[in-house]
Symmetry: C2
Subunit: 427 residues, 2 copies
Amino acid sequence: MRPAIRAEIITIGDEILFGQISDTNTQWIGAELTSIGIRPIRKTSVGDNAEDILSALQEASQRADLVLITGGLGPTKDDITKQTLCRFFSTELVINEQALELITGFFAKRGRAMTELNRQQAALPTNCTYLENRWGTAPAMWFEQEGTVFISMPGVPFEMKSLMENVILPRLRTYYNPPVILHRIIHTVGIGESFLAEHIEAWEDSLPDHIRLAYLPHLGQVRLRLTATGSNRDTLTNELAYEVERVMPLINKYVFGFDNDTLEEVVGRELVAQGATLGTAESCTGGYVAHRLTSIAGSSRYFLGSVVSYDNAVKTRTLGVPEEVLQQQGAVSEQTVKEMAERVRVLLGTTYSISTSGIAGPDGGSEEKPVGTVWIACATPTQTVTRLLKLGGNRLHNIQLTATYALNLLREQLVKIDEKPQIVHQQ
Amino acid sequence: MRPAIRAEIITIGDEILFGQISDTNTQWIGAELTSIGIRPIRKTSVGDNAEDILSALQEASQRADLVLITGGLGPTKDDITKQTLCRFFSTELVINEQALELITGFFAKRGRAMTELNRQQAALPTNCTYLENRWGTAPAMWFEQEGTVFISMPGVPFEMKSLMENVILPRLRTYYNPPVILHRIIHTVGIGESFLAEHIEAWEDSLPDHIRLAYLPHLGQVRLRLTATGSNRDTLTNELAYEVERVMPLINKYVFGFDNDTLEEVVGRELVAQGATLGTAESCTGGYVAHRLTSIAGSSRYFLGSVVSYDNAVKTRTLGVPEEVLQQQGAVSEQTVKEMAERVRVLLGTTYSISTSGIAGPDGGSEEKPVGTVWIACATPTQTVTRLLKLGGNRLHNIQLTATYALNLLREQLVKIDEKPQIVHQQ
């Protein structure tokens, strides 16, 4: 078997090192390379500093077959990637007519004025192959030196992704015709990593050497990732299918999906399959459940809307939760989330509904109901189920976990799983 | 001036390289180190592979004074950081009684059973100083070798952050007493990077050498980051204040905040200052504006709630938008968002309200109203203002940009800025 193509990703920018922006690019690039059988072996971030960029390029060229570089191509003075690539390749910048034409057109089309800084974006190292960027004004470049391919791209996520999808990935596929690495991911929810590991230990120990397992815990979910490496796509596909089939009986009730599935997509598909609709009544999640549901394209087919009843007056006036329930049980109570779910279901005229009410923190906790105390409910045509969550101290964490458990409570009703514990501790 | 302490961050895990989880840790660590005057010079991610981990440790030890390592400390078989650190330091694993006691207590407190895998988490390299992890079961370790400090931490964000804040950062501050690096960030919204650069070019050219400027564009906002390096905190603070004062008159109307400000926080502070309240009526943003507002601790003081009217029936029945407006103008129209904003303001009884309606995509576009066409409105006690956005093709991008521009429209009403263009193109 031919060894895998080894790729390194270099991101350039003080803002990444100093933690002033989140680097979403390298995750995406890593996943895309992996999906076409190129193996990411390292990611490096360096600052806007020529010496650090040069040393990262030098080191990567010794380890990798492919080096992908993002960032530092903007029009402003702190962007020095092109100049540094010229030093690395011992060449110089010259205006590229094709790039200039595209940039000029980009501004003309949007009716925006073009600056000299923008014109200078068309100046490229002489040894590069210019890759057309139809999504922005920064150029993309392809270099080859001593058997290593270097690709420089802008760091703006939308531009980088459009370039990768439309220009660079097709070109890499042709260039390398890479060996096969396949992944399968099994998504679980509602069980911790160690307990999952105990459930599947015998199976894990019996995996063949060319199939590796990883546990990826994140916010109440644990993903099991199987990675198979080989030369024949069909054989690997069958082997992975066989392993998934073997492990599923051990963990069936915790599994909500596979591969790129998300909880909100899985729930959406099931709603579509049943011809059913959904609404939410949210207090502590403040619209986040609705946001996750509507982040899915086509969600308007089943998601009708939400009442975010953050204030108690909205719970009573808009939703119609009885005053006495709030007064006697409190806003964070089983009876309140039950009323919220049932009433929003009628108000919006949906088949199902979800509701949430809890203390997200950092303030508002008490001895009886500490920060992280959350009630969730799901109303169906035949019943309303509720669940108490006891989460931790971090506000955003609590909002995200609550949304996950609320979507999972709905999923359990949709697929009729009834055997969950009634209290869920933080995973 | 003493040179800055140079730090490298190493993250361990195939899942990061393969892009199967998002690495939020290194951004956070970079920001925290920077804030105490330690300079992050490189971030490296390697896989769950001993040779790659060893080479990253080796390289980092030659460049950096401080090496922070996250990941690979879980209880499962794919976690090999501790074994690899033993190889790097030529030592072995021994059960640490202090760590074992803490882990045992962690499980006892939560009423959960402890596994042998969990017990093995207390086995540590003999040359480490054990750092108490009260937030999880993975250990944290401090090593010193040939003038370089190595710290190994779990990769679970909540545990890592709790450890850094409570244990590691205080220890680093004492250990290094580092030189001073100060940042000021100016947050702008509604102007592109190049245009901003032209507005402030003369000022930028006049900055002294020890103050650097960077442009950080992200989703309709551009942050200007000033970084000053020196020995005296007060001098640098004054110099930065002086530069901010010089640049502000050039860009005043685009600036919504400074440093850690977010648009939702700034809007929230202004609402509190005015004793005012807010509600939202959201169609295309599907609850995301409400989510951003309620992600701020204390938002219940001014945010009362939202009606996510994703379906037209919710727009008419719950909000009361007249049927004929929807029929004659369509859901994505100036009249519809105006009605939505005015009616949700009355329904929820708030001082201000925001509404959104648009075509987030990827489907639903037409020649007249392509994907990315969005109307937003803000209703105040005296008027309702509207704005048309012409955004791009990506669904999540459109949801996020719409939320930003809607919050900014509210901000302009709150601080009485009235001179914005009526059509906003994608930034």
